[in-house]
Symmetry: C2
Subunit: 479 residues, 2 copies
């Protein structure tokens, strides 16, 4: 459990939430915010605040925060920009520790008034030692606490999981969340930083580094006023858990747009990219890849070497996987003579028996078991990728048991690339992943995830060497 004295505790573990600017009109953000809290089955009281309404979404409404008798741990502010300060003042008096300002119209607008208003906001927050998320954010969620304090009710339907996401872009956060939905990937904490009036990546990372519910952190970065603080926070986090980061604004054209959006310099992409890697971040250029890498990192321990063995029943996808392995900078394991002999003995001559190993029509459980075992036993193999295609002749359900059994006998990572039309193997995917075998539908995606796993192994190794061999992971566990 997180430390209740941490200033971010009320944000992620509030006992009650007020929505200031709640509304009964579904086209208003103040409606969707209340809806989000309800749909996530938030266990504590939800207080809609609205100057006139008596009831909003079936909940008694309050004309003012001061009217609420109970404590308010977290307040979501959805009132117009001009009404923010009275609302904040009321929250402060109430002792509200977590503030999320959804309202837009601050630093991001093309008008000096916005900049001025945001400066006042930062000053207020810093003066009173309050942590404010936003303004101009979709909000915050902590699915483990059944908290969806965002304007997107559908976040409530996400699976709970060990991946936390901090994004400078609401749109990109939604792209990632939609993929997580579709693929049943579990998320934990989701934070839209918005305009970052006094909370930025660097402030949240130490909290997430200690957070027992978070095993991997995804960052989507547009621009930063103080990139060094971000880099230093990443550096302090990666000994304990992996940070998968994307920096948007690679080109001059997009950097200009990022600057308009965030009010911060986007910075030269190449410098950012190199600095993020140097700090120990695993860097990607694609939101889908962020999630693919984060998933593998929550299921598997870092891989030690880069030699991959591939096992397939179809030659073509085996070739695609091989191409992807080589392209990604990993390498294809050269099977030992002993392995090669054993495989040649029990596989028929109708198959490709070098790496990739194409089982073709050798569908017996025995052949599968033997081949997987041989490959995992081979000293030249660091990781095993298995490809399965859904088909009347391919009983993927029947392979769950044997593959999980082989996996449990080995300390090496096993990754499954299983391709099927939607709706056919979702249950099997869940079983595989519960058993420690991450599943990806396309060859390219399986390999980019494995490459991320390998990258984290290298980052940890570098760290260990730097610390003179003192296991920083063990230190991390004590925090």
């Amino acid at each position: 459990m997180a430390n209740p004295k941490n200033p971010f505790f009320p944000l992620f573990h509030p006992r009650s939430v007020a929505v200031i600017g709640a509304s009964g009109n579904p086209l208003k953000m103040g409606y969707q915010c209340v809806q989000s809290l309800k749909q996530c089955s938030f266990p504590g009281p939800i207080y809609p605040v609205h100057p006139q309404e008596k009831e909003i979404l079936g909940l008694p409404a309050y004309t003012d925060v001061r009217q609420i008798r109970g404590r308010v741990d977290l307040a979501m502010l959805v009132v117009p920009a001009a009404e923010i300060f009275p609302a904040l003042e009321a929250c402060r008096k109430k002792g509200t520790g977590g503030i999320v300002i959804i309202t837009a119209g601050f630093r991001e607008i093309d008008d000096p008034k916005g900049e001025h208003l945001q400066k006042e906001l930062s000053a207020f927050a810093n003066r009173h030692g309050i942590k404010i998320i936003g303004p101009n954010t979709f909000g915050v969620a902590n699915l483990h606490a059944n908290l969806n304090a965002s304007f997107t009710p559908s976040f409530s339907r996400l699976e709970k999981g060990p991946i936390s996401l901090v994004s400078q872009s609401g749109g990109v956060a939604h792209l990632i969340v939609h993929q997580a939905f579709d693929e049943g990937v579990g998320l934990g904490k989701i934070v839209g930083l918005g305009n970052r009036c006094n909370v930025d990546f660097a402030d949240l990372l130490p909290y997430l580094a200690e957070d027992k519910e978070t095993r991997c952190i995804i960052l989507f970065v547009e621009g930063q006023d103080d990139p060094r603080a971000l880099l230093s926070a990443i550096k302090n986090t990666v000994p304990f858990k992996p940070v998968v980061a994307m920096k948007a604004g690679q080109s001059a054209e997009s950097a200009r747009a990022a600057r308009s959006h965030t009010g911060s310099l986007a910075g030269r992409y190449e410098i950012y990219d190199a600095a993020l890697r140097q700090a120990g971040g695993i860097v990607s250029q694609d939101p889908g890849e962020l999630l693919d890498i984060a998933k593998i990192l929550t299921i598997l321990e870092p891989v030690k070497g880069k030699s991959v063995a591939i096992m397939t029943f179809q030659a073509g996808p085996g070739i695609l996987l091989t191409d992807a392995v080589i392209r990604s900078g990993l390498s294809m394991a050269v099977l030992s003579e002993k392995t090669q002999e054993r495989i040649n003995r029990f596989l028929p001559p109708f198959t490709i028996r070098t790496n990739p190993v194409d089982m073709a029509f050798a569908h017996s459980e025995e052949a599968f078991d033997e081949t997987a075992r041989c490959l995992l036993d081979d000293r030249n193999v660091d990781a095993l990728i298995v490809f399965l295609l859904h088909h009347p002749f391919m009983n993927i359900t029947g392979i769950v048991g044997p593959l999980l059994r082989q996996k449990q006998k080995s300390s090496k990572p096993v990754i499954l690339c299983a391709n099927a039309p939607r709706g056919f193997i979702e249950d099997e995917v869940t079983e595989f992943e519960k058993g420690g075998i991450p599943v990806y539908p396309q060859p390219e995606r399986a390999i980019r995830a494995l490459k991320g796993l390998f990258a984290y192994g290298e980052i940890r190794e570098r760290e260990r060497r730097r610390e003179g061999g003192a296991g920083s992971r063990e230190q991390g566990a004590e925090i």
Copy 2:
């Protein structure tokens, strides 16, 4: 309608199909073949042939092809390799014009007997002027004729469409088909070349070039005995329709596997890649990309220039799109002063009003119409990409009409990148695509498709210059 005298006509337009080696056991390929034909509602008679069975899947079975009284236009052979020749001989006597040999155990096996058997097969086919697809193939489909002559019944559930697919790998063909399923992309003809005993890409391309039901052709190539024939066939096809091609076996490791699989030299990837491009192919390294590019090419005419305008309601995805545009070698349009003035006039200052244009909260239909129109009217803009995110505040249904209206007023391509969790906007996607606006869920995918569209424009332009200005497309239409 295709020419009935063409030797491939019976393959794609048979009036009747026999399955030689049909079976009542669902674990046998001979069962799945009959199932495929039935599930696709093949309109002509289906004749299961089996030495003992009286009935298979509710159809009367025949002990021998000679027993069948009616004509047999297409025969699927699923008997063991040793029984192939008597079956072929019987088909020849019956005047069967289309032969698909599903049976494996020929050139692909690690045994000289297989090679020998295949040579005999080729000799037989060439001697009698019969076109044989296979051996060692999943089969053939022509969805426009309700023909699924493959061992994969689920092909029958595919949408009918103008994309035809010829693949040297069954596994990779299934990867592409599964994506087409999931995204409702329509396919026409699907051919698994298998071991290519006397039908290869170069033989099928002229047929598909003339085929009125095919508007774009996808090729998945592993290795070729006669690469020049393939290149020449592509060259002759691209004046009439685009060819999107992928060559597997980029690395030495995968080329070795491809060689084992196909029995053909995979060839140096770089040379293949350059030659395919030189011949006018649009080349990709990803099966999903093949389908994304093929889809845009069946919906839109080639784009003339590479300047892209982006319109979004979320800054972050606009920045991702911009990055993807620049990475892909396309460019961001510099809006004319007039456009910039007009946009500044009706968009609030809360938004990014240069390219990418971020509408932010300017959700009115009028603002949408005006912005789209301005961008499409601008001489500096060659193509427009619109990004939409599914959300309670974003009424994508309401945008279908306005966007299609703007599209119809312009000759420039409009591409939509619309992101939603599964199950929310499928109907809208169908409407957009029927109206001529292709839809992709992720920024990266929208841009790679647009890049393919631009590539085809360049290929056609090169062709036109080569022909000294004589519109080869017009010639194509006469065929």
